[in-house]
């Protein structure tokens, strides 16, 4: 298989397992990845919310930053408060542009003597180049190309993983720890991209298939493809890079102000700080909102959003059918005048105007572990 540009696709260390599980393999961000398994997107989605799903996210970029002052140095590239991170804690942030746009979003973990970063697959080359250019020479970048990343998500994820590693049961949300699983040292983080409780397990590639097979052997766990990964994150109101956020959207427009601490808001010192500080103070012209279309037709990415008179006020950036919601859900950027919860708008789907309301996100309650 090759990507649309003809380049050969890479495979993760779980490729053979996916094929044995009859995953339907498709090109995604330069990798051959399973979009779904025989159960299908709908059942995979609902199973994850009811029990536990296993996701191969090994295509994402994992790396360490080593060196004294790595946290302060990284803060010159992201608005997140990396210096305030306590050991073993994880935070969500973004690489920003000088105009305040978003180059990628990422997770940063304070892992004691180093920082552990997880970045998007499609952006990882550019992110690494950005880090190489932007960090001082005494900060070493170590690419973890020899590690797989397995997400176990759902209300039964903790009970399942605790059978192999009891100490994960009490791990706080957005914390990370070094954990022995099946005789292999793994980095386990509590969190994920589904809105459910769960874990992301960074494991040496050579041990990944055995770990995934052991987890799939547990009665609660089924393999989940990229299709359900997308519908799960959409229902949970989580942004997908390249769709809901990109270089043309700022963290403030995207509703990600919560990811910028008071100190960083006040001090700045990241690319686009002037723009972002001004937007925090004066507000933004458009905002990312949740939309619930009336009826059953999904309003997908690119759908025009208009006011009730038909004037364009925004565009859908992600949309589809929410299996747990039982109906269509969309995210859109709309003019701030129309961003209040309860505002009625129209969606232009196949030249027909479809009524929709601005609603609070997430579309389904998040069920993270709070101890």
């Amino acid at each position: 298989m090759s990507d649309p540009n003809g380049a050969p696709l890479k495979r993760t260390s779980l490729y053979d397992l996916h094929v044995r599980s009859e995953g339907k393999m498709v090109p995604f961000a330069g990798y051959e990845m399973p979009v779904q398994f025989p159960a299908g997107v709908l059942k995979e989605h609902l199973h994850t919310r009811a029990a536990a799903g296993l996701f191969d996210v090994s295509h994402m970029g994992q790396l360490y930053l080593h060196g004294d002052g790595a946290a302060a140095a990284l803060e010159t590239l992201v608005p997140g408060d990396i210096q305030a991170l306590a050991p073993g804690c994880t935070r969500y942030t973004q690489f920003t542009t000088e105009a305040g746009g978003i180059l990628d979003d990422l997770m940063v973990t304070q892992a004691g003597d180093r920082l552990y970063l997880v970045v998007n697959a499609a952006c990882k080359e550019a992110d690494i180049a950005l880090l190489r250019d932007g960090l001082p020479k005494d900060i070493a970048i170590e690419l973890l190309d020899d590690r797989a990343l397995i997400a176990l998500q759902g209300p039964m994820a903790a009970a399942v993983l605790a059978r192999l590693a009891p100490q994960v049961a009490e791990m706080p949300f957005m914390s990370s720890a070094s954990v022995m699983i099946l005789g292999t040292s793994c980095t386990v983080g509590r969190g994920g991209y589904t809105g459910e409780d769960g874990f992301e397990i960074s494991v040496p590639a050579s041990a990944a298939e055995d770990l995934a097979a052991a987890l799939l052997n547990e009665a609660e766990v089924v393999p989940i493809g990229l299709g359900a990964r997308d519908s799960l994150r959409l229902e949970s109101g989580l942004c997908l890079y390249g769709h809901d956020i990109d270089t043309t959207t700022t963290p403030i427009e995207a509703g990600l102000l919560w990811s910028i601490s008071k100190r960083r808001r006040a001090e700045g010192g990241f690319p686009g700080d002037a723009v972002i500080q001004r937007q925090i103070k004066d507000g933004v012209a458009r905002k990312r909102v949740g939309l619930r279309p009336e009826g059953r037709a999904p309003a997908r990415e690119g759908t025009r959003v208009t006011d009730e008179a038909g004037a364009e006020i925004g565009t859908v950036t992600s949309g589809g059918f929410g299996p747990s919601v039982g109906g269509p859900v969309s995210m859109a950027y709309v003019s701030s005048d129309f961003a209040s919860i309860g505002t009625s708008v129209l969606l232009e789907v196949r030249n027909k105007a479809m009524a929709a309301s601005v609603v609070a996100m997430p579309f389904v309650p998040q069920r993270y572990y709070r101890g």
């Binding site: 299908g40 997107v41 709908l42 037709a297 999904p298 059918f321």
Partner: protein
């Protein structure tokens, strides 16, 4: 006596006199995955062969359904508004989409019979 024809877009056409009943094939429903919404044409709408006639939305994507032959829409399967997943469960039976009154029977010659469609799918 009815006969079945198939298109390269994976629609089936059941012909009874001058009425064609149209749906998507078992192969198509399997490729689309879980169907969540179907935008059906209005009764009385007129289509030329190949026109966009309906849209099937699955959890994955929206897919256009083309008129396999020219004609005027007769009945539409309104039960699918409530239970679009019927197309997944019984694509070539209860999951029919709409009927057309055929305006040019000669167009049926462009469509495949069951054996030709089976061979077509086998090569995909």
């Amino acid at each position: 006596m009815s006969e079945m024809r198939f298109t390269e877009d994976h629609e089936w056409v059941r012909i009874e006199g001058d009425v064609a009943t149209i749906g998507i094939t078992e192969y198509a429903q399997d490729q689309l995955g879980d169907i969540v919404f179907i935008d059906l044409p209005e009764s009385g709408a007129e289509f030329a062969q190949g026109d966009d006639a309906a849209v099937i939305e699955s959890v994955k994507a929206a897919s256009d359904i083309y008129a396999p032959v020219s004609g005027e829409v007769g009945e539409v399967n309104e039960a699918l508004d409530v239970e679009p997943a019927t197309v997944n469960q019984d694509a070539e039976g209860e999951g029919w989409l709409f009927t057309l009154t055929i305006s040019d029977p000669g167009e049926l010659d462009n469509l495949m019979d069951a054996d030709a469609y089976k061979a077509f799918v086998a090569k995909l």
